[in-house]
Symmetry: C2
Subunit: 404 residues, 2 copies
């Protein structure tokens, strides 16, 4: 698969996270000549929080993680790419049990201390032995330098490995946050589930990490879309080893949340940049909505509209389609207070095209890779930002004959 | 535009409706060499019911029709294609007022007796004089034989004119129902709003017609989708002249409802058959849902999934994508009770692929023009049928550079 034209030019520097080691292996289950199994292990049981797909047909591994996350701690995460172990009935449940048991045995912990994620084809029975058989090799090869290898091992239809890393100083202590992700935009759930695994050496309480992780997920992974389809296996895990020592509290939590958001938005944008067939990254900023949730839903309605996305693919400043998408969102909106700008140029204000509208700067903006659409509802103070990509012939080509 | 490969081979016989006459004219506003204005008039004020877009950014004409429909009677419907008069602010409202007033004057009725619909580009001021100037010509040319011309005059991106007609006998009286529609699938609201105008000589009360129209609209026009986008101007109008004499009641209402559904489902399917780039008609039947509304929402989630639609375009029996779409619908569903059939072949039962699954008959079915997907939720008695088309390169080509 050709590397996305929106891919970053190179992998950023990935700072090791004190207390977290990773290893990868090649199961040979689907991909040849590359690693497709990833193990992420905390030296000691770590505080964990996460967000999982809301799909009613979620995979057995997602059901398993729900229970583990309730405890707020875990020792390791075992991930495989190639088979999603989804819609596999009782056989799928048995696979999950065996994978958790085998990983737990390797570290002398309980199965409930192991998080699992599988991504790949739906509905095919999974040979879990092909994964667990590599546990001795994986545990022998654990290293805090393997973030980039880990990012590559969890790829499926991804055209580039995705990772992000930040260092921040909170209360005089240097905190590291490093994460990896996969997904070409939550858009091909039979192969392209969205997964993200983030580690930090921060010391933070279970409750604080859970609250912050959910809020930041809404502003990052839940604020991106390629085609509105939701995977059976979407999983975000944040693991905090606490090796920096001083527990974060008060203003420190706000700083930690900002740093985690920075990493997660970076990873989320990389997923959109790898959207199947993507030629343009689209940033949609909603202001003046009734509240933030409403703003996000309006933003996603625009981001999910095939008509908006095809217009942008065609470099056509078709703002009428943005109006339509706001209308169909079902959210509070008043046609006569709506304002729309593209690339910073005001096109419509208070429900009517501005009198002296000149399409020239907008047409120039549409030719770039980085498209900005701003919508003001004129109703309240709700705001949100969402990201998507355009809908091109490439998307059809990739998806019209993918499984075979 | 090339005629859709799914278009009917010819226009069906359209029975005249006693008490309804139609005429068409060419405004020259956008289209050259074809009629683009349509007037449908009842000899006497008729009972009317309708369904209008739920878009929060609906057009001024839709707002106008909401008020007229509350009265339950109307004299005429004036429709133009080429300019939607949507998002045109106060100028748009003034256009609607002038169009209603001019039409009312032509028949010596009140403006509140006139229904209006406009379809075409959004956000461009409309020259309503180019339409109302033809009222004398239109009223002079009214005929009960002009249904096919009327169907052609309301087209925008449609590749064929859409009409359907039925005769039924209710309580010994012959009742005619004839209707026309336009739309390439509610998918290009800046040019391809969905409109339908249906006439009948049945005598029916305002309340009964309103109840039946809403119910049947849910089972027809609200059960189709091409890309999930909703127009600012979608309008369905049913006009009953009552010229057959005997008011329909009791069992007769059930028979009338069935006949109206027959006409409206026929028109709705024609719209899907004209979906932009459509190569296959997809019928999705949901059974075993918690209730009928839930069944319809699950059906639409499948029908709107770009992944399902591209898989079908690629003739790939990718049932995993159907599972994913059920899951993302947000409706009650139990992974372990879900059954899926394609083309009548059971693929998965109770949440697991059937042991002896043979893909051969399914692969053969995928090569046809007429794809059937059946999903049973195993929860209750809710059922629904929805229709959509596949998502092809043709859709991208048409929409990626449409307005210019």
């Amino acid at each position: 698969m050709k590397r996305s034209p929106l891919a970053p030019s190179s992998m950023p520097e990935l700072h090791p996270v004190a207390g977290i080691k990773l290893a990868t292996a090649a199961s040979g289950m689907k991909y040849k000549g590359r690693d497709d199994v990833m193990l992420m292990v905390a030296d000691d049981k770590a505080v964990v929080a996460g967000a999982l797909t809301r799909s009613k047909t979620c995979s057995a591994a997602v059901d398993w993680c729900k229970d583990v996350l309730k405890t707020g701690t875990a020792k390791a995460v075992l991930v495989n790419a190639g088979n999603a172990n989804a819609f596999t009935g009782k056989r799928g449940l048995a696979s999950v049990d065996r994978m958790a048991k085998a990983s737990a045995d390797a570290f002398s912990v309980a199965p409930e201390d192991i998080l699992l994620a599988s991504t790949g084809v739906i509905g095919e029975p999974m040979n879990d032995q092909a994964i667990t058989g590599y546990l001795p090799k994986l545990t022998a090869n654990l290293s805090d330098q393997s973030w980039a290898d880990a990012a590559a091992a969890i790829m499926t239809t991804d055209t580039f490995a995705k990772a992000a890393s930040r260092k921040v100083t909170i209360n005089g202590e240097a905190i590291t946050i490093t994460g990896i992700a996969k997904g070409s935009g939550m858009i091909a759930p039979d192969m392209a589930t969205m997964l993200a695994f983030i580690g930090t050496d921060a010391k933070i309480s279970k409750d604080d990490l859970a609250t912050i992780t959910h809020q930041v997920t809404d502003e990052s992974f839940n604020a991106i879309t390629v085609d509105g389809d939701t995977s059976t296996s979407d999983t975000v895990i944040v693991m905090a080893t606490g090796q920096t020592g001083l527990e974060i509290s008060g203003d420190g939590l706000t700083q930690f949340q900002a740093a985690l958001k920075d990493v997660m938005v970076d990873l989320a944008q990389q997923i959109v940049r790898d959207g199947e067939g993507a030629e343009k990254l689209i940033t949609i900023t909603i202001t003046g909505a009734e509240d933030d949730q409403s703003a996000r839903r309006i933003g996603l309605a625009i981001a999910n509209s095939p008509l908006v996305k095809t217009a942008i693919a065609g470099e056509d400043a078709n703002w009428g389609r943005v109006v339509m998408a706001v209308g169909k969102s079902g959210e509070p909106a008043d046609r006569d207070r709506l304002s729309i700008s593209i690339g910073g140029t005001v096109i419509a204000h208070n429900g009517d095209r501005v009198d002296d509208y000149d399409e020239t700067p907008v047409a120039d903006h549409m030719k770039t890779r980085d498209i900005h659409i701003d919508v003001d509802l004129g109703l309240g103070h709700g705001q949100a930002q969402v990201w998507t990509c355009d809908l091109t012939h490439g998307y059809i080509t990739i998806n019209a004959d993918y499984r075979s």
